[in-house]
C-alpha cells in the first residue's frame, strides 16, 4: 500500500548521462593531410593531442615542419588551376557532399571535439557540428553564383589561401575558412590549432570520402612555428587568420609589402549592455550564454558586462544565483553546461588575470562547485566593483570570467562600450526598439546582438572593428576576401 511518507522521501538529481565515445573511429596516429592523402612528416614531429578534462592523450598527431609546409603549398598550387576551371556547379557539388558527410558523422565529430578541446558535448552536438555543416551548405549554394555576390562583375579566385584557425571552435572555424575559399575557386592549406587538431583531421577523412581532388585542401597541424612558416611561404595568394591580436600583428608584419590580401579575426572585449527596461530574466540568460558558452573561450564573448545602475543590483543578484546552478564538469556528460579549460597554458593565463583583478581591488565571486582532480578547470567567476581602468575590464581573459561595470545614461553606455581597443561584438538588452537601433548604430562592433547573444548563422557576416581585425566571414560578404574583381 502506497503511503504519504513515501512522498516526502523522494530526492531528485540528474544521474550521470555520459555520451559514449565507443562509436568514435579515431586512429592512434595521424599523419599530415597533403595532396589528398595522409603522409608522414618530412621534417616535422609527432605530438600527442591531450584531452584537457583528463590530461590523457587522445591520439598522436604529426606536426608539419617547414619542408612539409612547402609541400602542402606546392600541392595547393598544382591543384588550383584545375579546381578553378571546374564550373561553379561542380565545385558546389563537392561542398554539398562535404556538408552531408559532416552531418552523417555528426555524433562522432561532436564527441571528438569535446574530447580534444574540453567543450561540453551539448555545445559541440548542438552548435559546433551543425553550424559547420551549415557553412558548407551555405557556400555550396554560392559556388555557381559568386559573380552575383559582387554585383554581377567578373571575378576570379585569388589562388592559394593559407588559413590558420584557433583552438576554441576547431571544426567550425575550419568550415568558416574552407567553405568560402573553395566556393570561390581557391585551394587552401589549413593549419589547425596546436591543442585541437583532431576534428580537422576527421574533416580531412571526410574530404577524401567526398573525392575532393588531391591538393585542393591540405591540412597540416602544427604550433606557432608551423603557422609562421606558412604565412612566410612565397607562393601563397591569401592569408586568413583567426586567433590572438598579438599573432595577428606578427602576421600583418610578415605580409607587409608582399601584396597578399589578409583577413584577420582577432580578440575582443565585447560589451554586453543591459538597460533598465530590458526583460531582466532573459538578459541574465543572455549574459550567461554570452560569457560561459564554451568556457568563455569565445573571441566575441560578452566579457564586459555594462548594466544600468538602476537595475545593477537586481541583475547581479539574479546572475549570481543563475551561475550557482551551472553544471561544471565532464564535457562528455550531456547535462554539463561548462566544461574544461582548453589547455594548461590557457588556465594559467586566466588565473593570472583573475589574480590581477583581485589585486586591483575588484570584488571576486567564484562559484563553489566541485571540480575534477585531473584536467584543467576554472569555476565560473564574477567580478563586481570593476573600474574601466582595471586589467580585467580591458584585457581579453578568454575564460569563464565576467566583469561588471555600470552606467547611468544611454550616452554613457555607448561611450563605455566603445572605449576599448577591440570591436568584435556587442549585446544590447532593451525592450524598446528605437533605443536598440540607436545604440546598435553607435557601437563600434562588427556584430551587435539585440536581446540575444552568441547566435551564429552562416548567412550573417562576422568580423571586427579596430584591433579585433578586418575582413568579414560568413554570408555574401564572406566571399569577398577570396575573390579578385577583374572587370
Amino acid at each position: 500500500m502506497a503511503t504519504q511518507e513515501q512522498r516526502t522521501s523522494i530526492t531528485w538529481d540528474y544521474a550521470p548521462a555520459p555520451e559514449s565515445p565507443e562509436h568514435v573511429r579515431l586512429r592512434d596516429s595521424y599523419g599530415l593531410f597533403i595532396d589528398g592523402s595522409f603522409v608522414d612528416p618530412g621534417d616535422g614531429t609527432r605530438v600527442a593531442s591531450v584531452n584537457p578534462a583528463t590530461e590523457e592523450p587522445v591520439a598522436e598527431v604529426a606536426f608539419a615542419g617547414p619542408g612539409d609546409v612547402r609541400r602542402a603549398v606546392q600541392a595547393a598550387r598544382a591543384a588550383q588551376a584545375g579546381w578553378a576551371a571546374l564550373s561553379g556547379l561542380d565545385r558546389g557539388k563537392y561542398l554539398f557532399r562535404v556538408a552531408r558527410l559532416i552531418q552523417e558523422r555528426a555524433r562522432e565529430l561532436a564527441v571528438v571535439e569535446s574530447m580534444d578541446g574540453g567543450k561540453p558535448i551539448r555545445e559541440s552536438r548542438d552548435v559546433d557540428v551543425p553550424l559547420a555543416a551549415a557553412h558548407f551548405f551555405h557556400y555550396a549554394g554560392w559556388a555557381d553564383k559568386v559573380s552575383y555576390a559582387m554585383g554581377g562583375r567578373t571575378v576570379e579566385p585569388l589562388g592559394v589561401a593559407a588559413q590558420i584557425v584557433p583552438w576554441n571552435f576547431p571544426l567550425l572555424m575550419a568550415a568558416w575558412k574552407l567553405a568560402p575559399a573553395l566556393a570561390a575557386g581557391n585551394t587552401a592549406v589549413l593549419k589547425p590549432a596546436e591543442t585541437t587538431p583532431l576534428t580537422a583531421l576527421l574533416l580531412a577523412e571526410i574530404l577524401q570520402e567526398a573525392d575532393l581532388p588531391p591538393g585542393v585542401v591540405s591540412i597540416i597541424p602544427g604550433d606557432g612555428a608551423t603557422g609562421s612558416a606558412l604565412v612566410r611561404e612565397p607562393d601563397i595568394d591569401k592569408v586568413a587568420f583567426t586567433g590572438s591580436t598579438g599573432v595577428g600583428k606578427d602576421i600583418q608584419a610578415a605580409l607587409a609589402g608582399r601584396g597578399i590580401p589578409l583577413t584577420l579575426e582577432l580578440g575582443g572585449k565585447s560589451a554586453n549592455v543591459v538597460f533598465e527596461d530590458a526583460a531582466i530574466d532573459q538578459a541574465v540568460e543572455g549574459i550567461v550564454n554570452g560569457i560561459f558558452f564554451n568556457q568563455g573561450h569565445v573571441c566575441c564573448a560578452g566579457s564586459r558586462l555594462l548594466i544600468q545602475e538602476s537595475v545593477a543590483e537586481t541583475v547581479v543578484s539574479k546572475l549570481w544565483s543563475r551561475m550557482e546552478r551551472l553544471r561544471v564538469g565532464d564535457p562528455l556528460d550531456t547535462n554539463t553546461d561548462v566544461g574544461a579549460i582548453n589547455s594548461r597554458e590557457q588556465l594559467h593565463r586566466i588565473e593570472a588575470l583573475v589574480a590581477s583583478g583581485e589585486e586591483e581591488g575588484a570584488v571576486r565571486r567564484t562559484v563553489s562547485c566541485s571540480l575534477p582532480d585531473r584536467g584543467f578547470w576554472f569555476a565560473p567567476t564574477l567580478f563586481t566593483d570593476v573600474a574601466p581602468a582595471h586589467r580585467i575590464a580591458a584585457e581579453e581573459i578568454f575564460g569563464p570570467v565576467v566583469s561588471v561595470l555600470t552606467f547611468r545614461t544611454q550616452a554613457e553606455a555607448i561611450e563605455k562600450a566603445n572605449s576599448t581597443p577591440y570591436g568584435l561584438a556587442a549585446g544590447i538588452w532593451t525592450d524598446k526598439g528605437s533605443k536598440a537601433f540607436e545604440v546598435a548604430a553607435a557601437l563600434q562592433a562588427g556584430v551587435v546582438w539585440q536581446n540575444t547573444y552568441n547566435h551564429f548563422d552562416p548567412s550573417a557576416a562576422f568580423g571586427g572593428y579596430k584591433e579585433s581585425g578586418f575582413g568579414r566571414e560568413g554570408g555574401m560578404s564572406g566571399l569577398r576576401p577570396y575573390l579578385r574583381v577583374t572587370r
Binding site: A2, Q6, Y14, Q282, E285, N335, N451
Partner: protein
C-alpha cells in the same frame, strides 16, 4: 504603489525552456523523477458526466496508483467539481491524499462575485481541502487589475484553512508579459499556489508559460519571503513532459520546490503514462495500456 514589472522576452524565454528540455534524464534519475512526478499529480476529472461512482474509482487510483508496484507513492490530490468534492473527501479520508475542488464559476469565471463566493463556500463546507479558483479574465483583459485582486482576496477569505490555487488560464491572456503580470497579481492577493490553466483552453502548461510563472514566483518569494507553489495543468500528458516541467522547477526555484507541497501537476491521462514508463525502467519492456486501470 508604483512598481516596475519586468518584461518577458518571448524568444528568450522559449529558448531557455527548450534548452532545459534537453536535459538528459536517464536510469536512476528517471525512476526517481517519475516517482516524484506521481507524488505531485492532482488527479483530475472535470466532466459533466462525472458521478459519485466515477469519483470513488478515481480516488482509489489516487491512493494506490499501481498495486503491483508498491514503491509508487500516492498522488497529491484528487480534483473534482464542487458537487462531488464531498464524495472525494469521504473516499480519501485518512489516506493523506487531499480533496480539491474547482470553484468560482469554473472554467469561465463569468459570474458575479457573490456567486463565486457561494460556490467556494459550498465546496469548503463539503470538505474541500484545496480550492482551485479562476481569475476573472474578463476583468484582467479590460485592465481592471483591482477587481482581479479583490476577487482573489475575497475568495481567499472564505477558503478558511483550505489552500487556494489561482488559475490564470494563460492561453486566454495573450502574452508572456500578461502571464507574468497576472502571476504577480495573484500572489499579491494571497494565492497559495498559482496555476496555469483550467485544462479547458486551447493550451496549458507549455514550457514557456511554466517557466515565466516559476520566475515570477522566484522574484515574489525573494522579495516577500512568503512561499508560493506552482501548479502546471493542461497539456502535460506524457512522462517526458512531466520530467521536463520538473527540470524547469529544479533549475529555476531549486530542490526546495521539488515536493508536492510546492509543485503540482494537474492531469488525468498523465498518471498512466508515468506508470508505464516507470515499469519500463524496471522490466525493460513497455506494458500494454490496458495493464493499468483507467481510474
Amino acid at each position: 504603489m508604483i512598481r516596475r514589472l519586468p518584461h518577458v522576452d518571448r524568444v528568450g524565454i522559449e529558448e531557455r525552456a527548450a534548452t532545459l528540455g534537453k536535459r538528459s534524464i536517464k536510469t536512476s534519475a528517471k525512476e526517481q523523477g517519475i516517482r516524484l512526478a506521481v507524488s505531485m499529480v492532482d488527479l483530475t476529472t472535470l466532466e459533466g458526466s462525472d458521478t459519485p461512482g466515477k469519483v470513488r474509482h478515481l480516488c482509489a487510483k489516487a491512493v494506490c496508483p499501481a498495486p503491483t508496484m508498491p514503491e509508487i507513492p500516492s498522488v497529491a490530490a484528487v480534483c473534482v467539481y464542487p458537487s462531488l468534492v464531498g464524495v472525494a473527501r469521504e473516499a480519501l479520508d485518512g489516506t493523506g491524499v487531499r480533496a480539491a475542488s474547482v470553484s468560482t464559476a469554473f472554467p469561465s469565471g463569468q459570474a458575479s462575485l457573490d456567486v463565486k463566493l457561494r460556490d467556494t463556500e459550498d465546496a469548503v463546507a463539503a470538505g474541500a481541502e484545496e480550492i482551485d479558483m479562476v481569475i476573472s479574465r474578463e476583468a484582467f483583459l479590460a485592465g481592471d487589475d483591482a477587481r482581479v485582486m479583490e476577487e482573489i482576496v475575497r475568495v481567499k477569505d472564505v477558503c478558511g484553512d483550505a489552500h487556494l490555487k489561482v488559475i490564470l488560464e494563460t492561453a486566454e491572456l495573450g502574452s508572456y508579459d500578461h502571464v507574468r503580470h497576472a502571476s504577480m497579481l495573484a500572489m499579491e492577493a494571497g494565492a497559495d499556489f498559482i496555476k496555469t490553466s483550467t485544462g479547458k483552453a486551447a493550451s496549458g502548461a507549455t514550457p514557456g508559460v511554466t517557466l515565466v510563472m516559476l520566475e515570477a514566483i522566484r522574484d515574489y518569494v525573494e522579495r516577500t519571503g512568503r512561499v508560493v507553489g506552482m501548479k502546471a495543468a493542461g497539456g502535460v500528458s506524457t512522462s517526458k513532459a512531466a520530467l521536463h516541467r520538473l527540470v524547469l522547477v529544479k533549475e529555476t526555484l531549486g530542490d526546495e520546490w521539488l515536493t508536492a507541497e510546492r509543485f503540482r501537476i494537474g492531469a488525468s491521462s498523465l498518471l498512466n503514462d508515468l506508470l508505464m514508463q516507470y515499469q519500463k525502467t524496471q522490466t525493460g519492456r513497455y506494458a500494454r495500456p490496458e495493464d493499468f486501470s483507467k481510474e
